[in-house]
C-alpha cells in the first residue's frame, strides 16, 4: 500500500519533468552522453596545452623535431574535436528531452552564459582549424610566432569554455545561498552562481586532469604507432613521442592529488554532510577502488621508466634500486587500498571486538593512507630522476656534495611524511587533518628542490651515450595502454563520485530528483556504466585515429613525408 502511495506521489511530482528513453532508461542515456562527451572534451583541452609547449621548445631550440611532434599532437586534436561537438549535441538533446524541468532550471539561470559558450565554441573551432591547417604556411620567422600565438589562443578559448561549463556543473553541487527551484534570489547574479564554492577547485583539478588525460591518450597513440611501425626511424620517433606523452602525463599527475585535496576541503567547507557522504558515507568504498586504480597508474608509469632505462647507456647502474622502489610502491599501494569501515555481520563484529578490524583499522585511516600516497609520489619522482641521470656523467666539482644534498632532501621529505603519519595517530581528528598539509608541502619542496639542484648539477655533464630510441621492448608499450585505459576509467569513476555525492538532488538541496532514477546506484552498477563509457570512448578514439592514419597515407602518396630520425630526450 505504501509503495502504491509513493508511486502516486512520484507521478504527481514528475508530470512533465522527465522523459523516457527506451531500453536503458533516461539516466543511463544521459550518463553515457555526458561521460563520453567529457572524455573527448578532456582530450581536446589537454592536448593543446602540450602541443603549444612542444612547439615553443621547437621554436626556441630551433629543433624541427619538436615542431613535428607538436603538429602530430594537433592532428589528433582535429579529429577528436568533431567527436567532442557531436557528443555535446547528443548530451544537450538528451537533457532537453529527458530532463526538461531540470534543464529549464539551468537555462533560466545560465542562459546568457550558454550563448557566450556557443560563441566561444565557434572561436575555438576556427582557431583550431587555423592553427592546424596554417602550420606549413606560417612556419618561419615572425609568422611562426604568429602561428604559435594561435595555439596559445586556442588554449585560452578552450579554458574559458571549460570554466563556463564548470560553472553549470559546480552550481549543481554547491548552489549559492538562497537559490530555489524557481531560480536565484534577486541579490545573486548569474556570475554569483557560476563562481560558487567549488568552481575554482574544479577548474584547477580539471585543467591538470585534462593534461594528464591528453598525455596518456597521446602516449597510447604513439605506442600503437610504435607497434605498427615498419622502419627503425618510425619506431624511434614513436618511442620518443610515447615517452614525451607519458612524461607530461605523470609529471602533472603527481600534483593532481593536491588539487583534489583542495576540492575536497571546499566541499567539506560548503556542506559537511556532503563531504561526509563523499568520504565516509555510502561512497566511502569508492576510494578503495580509486586506490586500486592509482596504484596501477603508479606501477605502470614506473615500470615504463625502468624498462626505458634499458635503452639508456649507463642507466644499468641504477637497475639494482628498482626492486626496492617496487617494494615501496607495492607496500604503499596495499596500505592505501586498505578499507577502514568494514561492512560486517553482528557475528563478525563480535569476533573483531568492535566495528573496526584490530589490524586493518590502523592501516585504513587517513594517517596511513596519506603517508602511503606521499611515499609513492616520492618514489615515482626518484624513478624520473634516475631516468634523467641515466646517461649522464656529472662534471661539476661539487657533484658528490650535490648528489648528497639531493639524497638528504629525499630522506628529510620521507621522514617528515612518516613522522606526521605516525604522530597523526596520537592527536584528535581536527589536528590530524592539518598534518596532511605538512606531508604534501614536504614532498612538493623535495620535488622542487631536487629538480633545481639537478638542473645545475647536470650542467655540462658528459654523455655516456645517446639514448637508443626505438630499442624498447614491446611490453613497455603495453604499459602505456594500461595507463591510458586506467586513467580513462579513473576519470569516469571520479565523475561518478562528483556527481553521486549530490545523491537524489539535481541541484543540491535546491532541485530534487523525483524521477524513477533518483536513488544513486551502488558501485557495481556505476562500474558497469563507467566501463561501457570507456569502451565507447576508446573504440571511437581507435576509429578516429585509424581515419587519421588513412588521411596520412593518402597525403604521403601525394607528397613524400619529411624524414624521420631518432629524437633527443626531453630535457637532455
Amino acid at each position: 500500500m505504501t509503495e502504491l502511495l509513493l508511486l502516486v506521489q512520484a507521478a504527481a511530482d514528475t508530470t512533465g519533468a522527465y522523459g523516457h528513453f527506451p531500453l536503458i532508461g533516461a539516466r543511463a542515456a544521459v550518463w553515457i552522453a555526458a561521460e563520453v562527451h567529457l572524455m573527448f572534451a578532456a582530450f581536446v583541452l589537454g592536448v593543446p596545452m602540450f602541443a603549444v609547449i612542444t612547439e615553443l621548445i621547437g621554436i626556441v631550440g630551433k629543433d624541427p623535431k619538436y615542431d613535428k611532434l607538436s603538429k602530430e599532437f594537433t592532428r589528433l586534436l582535429v579529429f577528436a574535436y568533431s567527436a567532442t561537438a557531436l557528443w555535446g549535441a547528443v548530451l544537450v538533446f538528451f537533457l532537453t528531452t529527458l530532463y526538461p524541468r531540470f534543464w529549464g532550471h539551468l537555462t533560466q539561470i545560465f542562459g546568457l552564459s550558454m550563448w557566450i559558450y556557443v560563441g566561444l565554441f565557434f572561436a575555438e573551432s576556427f582557431t583550431l582549424y587555423l592553427y592546424y591547417y596554417g602550420w606549413d604556411r606560417w612556419n618561419a620567422g615572425r609568422s611562426k610566432w604568429f602561428h604559435w600565438s594561435l595555439g596559445v589562443l586556442l588554449n585560452v578559448w578552450g579554458t574559458i569554455v571549460m570554466f563556463i561549463a564548470n560553472g553549470w556543473l559546480t552550481y549543481m553541487m554547491s548552489p549559492p545561498e538562497g537559490a530555489t527551484a524557481q531560480g536565484l534570489p534577486p541579490e545573486v547574479t548569474m556570475w554569483g552562481a557560476i563562481a560558487n564554492a567549488t568552481w575554482m577547485p574544479i577548474n584547477i583539478h580539471r585543467l591538470l586532469g585534462n593534461a594528464v588525460f591528453g598525455g596518456t591518450v597521446a602516449a597510447a597513440y604513439a605506442a600503437y604507432r610504435f607497434l605498427a611501425s615498419k622502419t627503425p626511424e618510425e619506431r624511434a620517433h614513436y618511442d620518443w613521442m610515447g615517452y614525451v606523452g607519458n612524461f607530461i602525463a605523470i609529471s602533472v599527475f603527481i600534483v593532481l592529488p593536491f588539487a583534489g585535496y583542495w576540492l575536497g576541503r571546499e566541499i567539506y567547507a560548503y556542506d559537511q554532510s556532503m563531504g561526509i557522504t563523499m568520504m565516509g558515507g555510502f561512497m566511502s568504498w569508492l576510494w578503495v577502488v580509486q586506490a586500486v586504480l592509482i596504484g596501477v597508474l603508479f606501477l605502470a608509469a614506473n615500470y615504463y621508466l625502468w624498462i626505458g632505462m634499458q635503452r639508456i647507456p649507463g642507466a644499468e647502474r641504477f637497475t639494482p634500486y628498482t626492486k626496492w622502489m617496487l617494494l615501496v610502491l607495492v607496500v604503499c599501494w596495499i596500505v592505501w587500498a586498505t578499507p577502514h569501515t568494514l561492512i560486517v555481520t553482528r557475528e563478525e563484529q563480535a569476533a573483531m571486538g568492535g566495528q573496526f578490524h584490530p589490524f586493518l583499522d590502523v592501516l585504513g585511516v587517513m594517517s596511513a593512507k596519506n603517508t602511503a600516497v606521499n611515499l609513492m609520489i616520492l618514489t615515482t619522482f626518484l624513478s624520473f630522476l634516475l631516468y634523467r641521470r641515466g646517461n649522464k656523467r656529472l662534471t661539476v666539482e661539487w657533484a658528490r656534495q650535490g648528489t648528497m644534498v639531493q639524497g638528504a632532501m629525499f630522506v628529510i621529505a620521507a621522514v617528515v611524511v612518516v613522522f606526521f603519519g605516525i604522530y597523526g595517530y596520537f592527536v584528535p581528528d581536527t589536528v590530524r587533518i592539518g598534518f596532511s598539509v605538512y606531508q604534501v608541502l614536504s614532498v612538493l619542496a623535495c620535488i622542487v628542490g631536487v629538480t633545481v639542484v639537478d638542473l645545475f648539477l647536470t650542467r655540462g655533464a658528459e654523455s655516456k651515450g645517446e639514448i637508443r630510441w626505438g630499442q624498447m621492448p614491446e611490453r613497455s608499450q603495453y604499459a602505456l595502454f594500461i595507463l591510458a585505459v586506467t586513467f580513462t576509467w579513473l576519470m569516469g569513476l571520479m565523475g561518478f563520485a562528483r556527481s553521486g555525492i549530490r545523491q537524489h538532488w539535481h541541484v543540491w538541496q535546491v532541485l530534487p530528483d523525483t524521477s524513477p532514477y533518483a536513488s544513486t546506484p551502488a558501485l557495481g552498477y556505476a562500474a558497469n556504466m563507467i566501463s561501457l563509457c570507456v569502451i565507447v570512448f576508446l573504440g571511437l578514439v581507435a576509429f578516429i585515429f585509424w581515419l587519421g592514419g588513412l588521411a596520412e597515407r593518402a597525403f604521403s602518396k601525394e607528397q613524400p613525408a619529411p624524414g624521420l630520425s631518432p629524437q633527443p630526450a626531453m630535457g637532455d
Binding site: S273, I276, F282, W285, V292, T520, G524, A526, A527, I530
Partner: protein, 257 residues
Amino acid sequence: MWATNAKIVALSLAVIGFYTLVAHIIPQLQSEVPAQVAVGPGASPEELAAAGERIYSTVCTACHGLGTRAPNLVTDHEGLGPIGARCLARFGDRCKDYLYHSLTAPGDSVVPGFANIMPDMRTQLDANQIWAVIAYLQSQGGEITVTSQDLESAPAQTAQPAAAAVLSATTDPRELLREKGCLGCHAIDGSGPPIGPPFDGIGSRLTREQIREGILNPNATVARGYEQFAGMMPPNFGDQLTAAQLEAIVNFLAGRR
C-alpha cells in the same frame, strides 16, 4: 598487425574488466531517496516509527551509524540507554520538542566530544519526514508521543524551530528553565549536566545585567572553563521569552548566591 590489434584490445578489455570486478566485489551500497511519509490521519505510532526508520536508515546513518562522527542514537550511551530512553528521562513529555529542535537547529544541541557538523534537516527532509524520524527515535527505548496531528500541523519549511513555537505564559522561573531546556546544560541544586556553568552560585559570580546579557546574547562572553561548548546556547531566547518571563529568570538566578 591483426595479432597486435587483438593483443591491445584484449589487454584493454582485461584492464577494464579487472576494475569492474573490483567494484563488484566490494560492498554494494546504494544511496536511497528518503522515503516519503505515506501515512495519513489516524496513523498509529508504530506506523510513524516504521516510516521514520526508513528515512533514518537512508539519511542519518552515515554519521550516526558508527558513533564516531556523531553519537550512535540507537544503542546505549553511557548506560543511559538509546536516544528514546535518554530523551524521555531528560525532557519528559517535551522530548519530541527537544528532538525536533535537535533536527532543525542541531548546533544548539551538540553532544560533547563531537563536532558541530549536522545541517538543519529541513534542508533535506520535509516536515512530515522529520516528525516520522522523531517518532522512530522516540521508539528507541522511549515512548512515541508524535501523533498524526503533528504531521498535519507541521510547520512549513521556513518555520522557526519548535522550541520557538511553544511559548507559554508562565512566569515561574523554575518552570521556564525546564521548559526552555536550560537544565539540559546547566546544573541546579547540585545536579545536572556540566555543559554550561551551574546556576548554583551564579548570583555571586555575575551581576543582573551580566545574567540578562548572557541570556539574550549568550555568545558574547564565554564562561571560563566552558570554551569548548561556546556557541551551543541558542541566541534566540529574546524571541522566546516575554519581558516578564525574562525578568523572572534574571531575578531568580541573581538570587542564587
